[in-house]
């Protein structure tokens, strides 16, 4: 996807985000220090330091191959599932090291939900999709209420309440993605990671997902990877810009974190030239 150009109308939208001081006054959910990820010895991302704060939306933007998707997968240890992936450095989650030896990745994923780029509902009914998480985790309480509450939070309840037993694959793309969000919410996570959640959706569905993020951040901490800079400007409080560094010695291309600041700042007065080039559309 081509990087959209900066336009004056967008600045007004940026102002929905919080000030940096406001964000930093909130509790830190993730503290990442000197994080590097390699796949089969090939470094994909190197030397990242940043903090994600509670009840905020944090966006990762940057060109293809900058490691932003690799990075978001470090937060719920989805990289564990890729053979040959190696994560170095520390990721603290509420002060605890996510990669400590005694930490169970399954327990992590229960508390840190994820929504993927392409909607991936299970080939089951709408109800069973949302109920899957609570069922495998053996959560107590009424399953029906849990499903309804998750679907309501994902703004999907009104559209599907009369056909909960229908197959989830019959829903539209936007509905499927909201179903995936509901599915993630049903296990009552603390954080929701979204890896380009709207890149496969039409503009109206995208708007709905973005509105949803504004509502959800009251109760959850949201981290989103996006290709779409306007989307980051619209939804995020903090934005991290990643880029690709090409090594002089020919050891390959690796992702680096260039700048991390309040979204307003990143999109209006970035400190780094590379960020400015990217957000003004001169690069990427």
């Amino acid at each position: 996807m081509e990087a959209p150009r900066i336009d004056s109308g967008r600045i007004a939208e940026v102002s929905r985000g919080l000030e940096r001081s406001e964000v930093e006054s909130r509790k830190s959910v993730f503290s990442v220090r000197d994080l590097s990820v390699a796949y089969r010895g090939k470094v994909a991302l190197e030397g990242v330091d940043l903090d994600v704060h509670q009840n905020t939306v944090t966006a990762f933007i940057g060109p293809s191959g900058c490691g932003k998707s690799t990075f978001i997968r470090c937060f719920n240890r989805m990289n564990d599932l890729i053979p040959g992936a190696k994560v170095d450095g520390t990721v603290l989650y509420h002060g605890e090291d996510l990669y400590a030896r005694d930490v169970d990745a399954v327990e992590i994923r229960r508390r840190i939900g994820m929504v993927f780029q392409k909607p991936n509902p299970f080939p089951k009914s709408i109800y069973d999709n949302v109920a899957f998480g609570p069922r495998v985790l053996g959560m107590k309480g009424s399953l029906d209420e849990r499903v309804e509450s998750a679907l309501r939070q994902a703004a999907l309840w009104e559209e599907v309440k009369d056909r909960l037993k229908d197959g989830a694959l019959g829903l539209s793309g936007g509905q499927q993605q909201r179903l995936c969000i509901a599915r993630a919410l049903a296990v009552e996570p603390d954080v929701i990671l979204m890896d380009e959640p709207a890149s496969a959706l039409d503009p109206i569905s995208t708007t709905r997902i973005e509105d949803l993020m504004h509502d959800l951040k009251r109760e959850y901490t949201i981290v989103i990877v996006t290709h779409n800079m306007q989307q980051a400007a619209r939804v995020a409080d903090m934005t991290a810009f990643f880029s690709v560094a090409v090594e002089d010695d020919g050891s390959g291309r690796r992702g680096i974190l260039v700048e991390y600041d309040a979204t307003t700042k990143i999109f209006t007065t970035p400190s780094d030239k590379r960020t400015e080039d990217y957000v003004t559309g001169r690069f990427g």
Partner: protein, 262 residues
Amino acid sequence: MLVAFGTLVVLLVDTIVTGWPGLGTQLITGLPSTVADEAGARPAILATLYLGAVVLLFSVPIGVLTAVYLEEYADRERWWNRVIEVNIQNLAAVPAIVYGILGLAFIVHGIGLGRVVLAGGLILTLVVLPTVVVAAREAIRAVPDSIRQGAFALGATKWQVVWRQVLPAAIPGIATGSILALSRAVGETAPLIMVGAVVYVPFNPTILGQYTALPVQIFNWTKLPDAEFRTLAAAGAIVLLVIVLTMNAVAIFLRNRYRKQW
């Protein structure tokens, strides 16, 4: 292609024309006899159904578990997993008669099971097991990775992902493959002759008793000098064809019914 199809049609028509007079309740309910007019194939038909049941009972669980192991758990870098894979491919190409000899040595005499339905079923299980494994692997591989990732992201364990998402999604493919394998097993003759499907069984078979199978019965009838037995053989072939084609039709129906939309 056309030649092959034409030959098939000629064969079919010839069989049906020859066998038509032999078809009747006598064939399906009667006991074998030396008199063509009184001969039937009830024990053979029943034994064939039992054999099919034994094959399903053993080949599906073993085949599916093998496929799950190879697709979801095995590390392809390890030599023993590659050995298993190569072996499964090779086993699929081994002639059925070789399985018959193996079965005679190990199952009939080795374990001392004797010439019974269970032994025959176990040998047919060996014959079709590679087919079931390959079909189940295909079906499991066809389940998109996004489904696994989605389940993992909710905090499901590997076991839960496999049993609650991957396998249910793969069931149509597994069922189709298993039925096709079963219909092959039901038509096999050679290994059963090896492990002693006797030809004259004037009583209903039991799982641990002597038996004959429909293809063996047909084969035997064609050897008898009396021309009327040839009619019976053709009629028996029609019955066998109906059984096999019905199973294949069920397989095709399942495949179309559950064709996935992802």
